[in-house]
């Protein structure tokens, strides 16, 4: 039985990664047909960096991801602190609302926001409401739950007396938040921010519905590309993104490991560290 599980696991992982390997290999292919490998080359990467329009799209994606994850982190962390202090009934209500963008399929979120913007557009008698700002709003909207659901457990784990101790020692509520609560929940804030960034960077469906032709992100443009034969430098881009996401995930993992370790050994400032009890 155990052998069966292990074999199955190996097969599934293989299944998961075969297409990724196909793409990685394709990025080094000098030919344009993925199925036929002509010769090994780095030229696609070179093409990638020379393609200004592609780089502009990449810049757009990164810009949106950074801005939206930043906004979502600030808003979401504040929200998590507020929700943490709410009475049980109100808290449950708000958390249910927070869950909505996560339980709804992307297409519903995208469509509902697009309709909202269309409605507002009608009211303002404008046809071209979709653009950078609507995209940003949409991204922040679906990033927020990731931040909130990442910070809330950290707030729950925190010793509830810590805030009171800070007040007792002379902190105003704002100071207590800054000096005591925030350092405690920082791992949750950071991992929430990273998750939001990753989700934004890769989002296709929601962006597809709320973006105008003025400001386009990479995934949406890839979709448009895929209606024609795909250019090989996209595969190079994919490989680079793969490396970047891998790096982010490793960093996140290391952060989690460090956080769960109870002893965070800090270096001694001087030689006075006596070990006697």
């Amino acid at each position: 039985m155990k052998r069966f599980n292990k074999v199955m696991t190996a097969l599934v992982f293989l299944f998961l990664y075969i297409p990724m390997i196909v793409l990685l290999v394709a990025s080094f292919n000098s030919g344009t047909d993925v199925a036929a490998f002509k010769s090994f080359t780095f030229s696609q990467y070179g093409e990638l960096f020379r393609d200004d329009s592609l780089l502009r799209l990449l810049r757009n994606s990164i810009l949106i991801a950074v801005l939206s994850s930043f906004l979502a982190t600030v808003l979401g962390t504040m929200a998590a602190v507020g929700i943490h202090h709410m009475r049980a009934r109100l808290r449950r209500l708000v958390l249910t609302a927070t869950d909505i963008p996560m339980t709804n399929p992307d297409i519903v979120t995208g469509v509902s926001l697009a309709l909202l913007f269309a409605f507002v557009g009608r009211l303002l008698h404008t046809n071209s409401i979709l653009g950078f700002w609507t995209l940003l709003i949409a991204h922040v909207t679906f990033d927020l739950p990731y931040v909130i659901l990442s910070v809330m457990p950290k707030l729950g784990q925190m010793d509830p007396d810590l805030e009171e101790a800070a007040l007792d020692l002379g902190c105003t509520p704002m100071q207590a938040l800054r000096k005591v609560v925030l350092p405690e929940i920082m791992p949750g804030v950071v991992s929430g921010a990273l998750m939001a960034f990753t989700m934004s960077l890769d989002d296709f469906v929601i962006s597809y519905f709320v973006t105008g032709s003025g400001f386009v992100t990479l995934p949406v443009e890839i979709y448009n590309y895929t209606k024609k034969p795909i250019q090989p430098k996209i595969y190079a881009l994919f490989s680079l993104m793969f490396a970047a996401i891998l790096l982010i995930m490793v960093v996140m993992n290391l952060l989690q490991l460090r956080d769960s370790g109870a002893r965070r050994g800090r270096p001694q400032h001087d030689g006075r560290g006596a070990e006697t009890n």
């Binding site: 199925a35 509902s112 995934p219 890839i222």
Partner: protein, 271 residues
């Protein structure tokens, strides 16, 4: 406490951009596209899409089941691994989720095409090429491929949380491995199963890209309809109506699955 006010900006945001848009969907679904007056015509028009709706449900269910069958052993394996290995495996499972799902699906196109990698391989072996792409099977494959991490993650989390002492108690009372699995692990993992099936079913039933790339005109799904109403034929009212159908469908299915998990768990807890 002034702390509660901190969540005020967020609450405003949620209402404006999560709750209100859902209301807008309702509005458009029940409004005539030209006159703007209340009408049930859009919703009535949904009846013509019934075959598409059924197909979406059917293919998504199959995908969810396949994900369950092949994902369960993986989740079990991960749950049994040492903590550092676990984190590593989980990272491996999550990594594809963060990568462009467009490109990964396209990779399957290259694999499944008549002139694709698999068929090239078959030809090289002297076998006849198979019509792999543009079939229901290809769509299911695409769904399983894209959403199996959503099955593995919740399942492994739930299995990990099973108190090992329960397993020891069962062994102590005379269960061999197969019985431990059937009578202890499986029932206790039901919340994970429900969670995983839901998390596969929901995106699967609403996808449009997978069916476009790996399917044919015979595999149109709900998502395709919505997408075409919004982008090709600009009829947001019909699109909204379809979205409403989708939302109701998901709500019903999730509700049914939750109830299913509720009673199932209770039955099994009794000795």
């Amino acid at each position: 406490m002034r702390n509660r006010l901190l969540s005020a900006p967020y609450l405003v945001w949620v209402v404006l951009f999560t709750v209100v848009p859902l209301g807008v969907v309702f509005y458009f679904a029940f409004t005539d596209s030209i006159t703007g007056r209340f009408t049930l015509a859009n919703m009535a028009g949904m009846a013509t899409y019934l075959p598409i709706i059924m197909r979406s449900i059917w293919l998504s269910l199959i995908s969810a089941m396949i994900c369950l069958v092949i994902g369960y052993p993986v989740a079990y394996c991960i749950a049994q691994a040492s903590p550092t290995r676990q984190k590593f495996y989980l990272m491996l499972v999550m990594l594809p989720m963060c990568m462009s799902f467009l490109l990964r699906t396209l990779a399957w196109v290259s694999l499944l095409e008549d002139t694709g990698i698999i068929n090239n391989f078959l030809r090289a072996l002297g076998l006849t090429p198979l019509p792999l792409i543009r079939t229901n099977g290809a769509v299911v494959l695409g769904m399983v491929y894209n959403y199996i991490p959503y099955m593995i993650l919740p399942l492994s989390t739930v299995i990990m949380k099973i108190d090992p002492r329960l397993i020891e108690a069962a062994q102590d009372l005379g269960c061999n491995n197969a019985m431990v699995f059937r009578r202890v692990v499986l029932p206790l993992s039901v919340p994970g199963i429900v969670s995983g099936v839901t998390m596969v079913f929901v995106p699967a039933v609403s996808t449009f890209y997978i069916s476009q790339k790996l399917g044919s005109t015979g595999t149109t799904l709900i998502g395709d309809v919505i997408e075409s109403q919004f982008k090709a034929a600009y009829n947001p009212n019909l699109g909204a109506a379809m979205s409403l159908v989708l939302m109701v469908l998901i709500f019903l299915c999730v509700g049914a699955m939750n109830r299913f998990s509720g009673t199932d768990g209770e039955e099994v807890m009794a000795p």
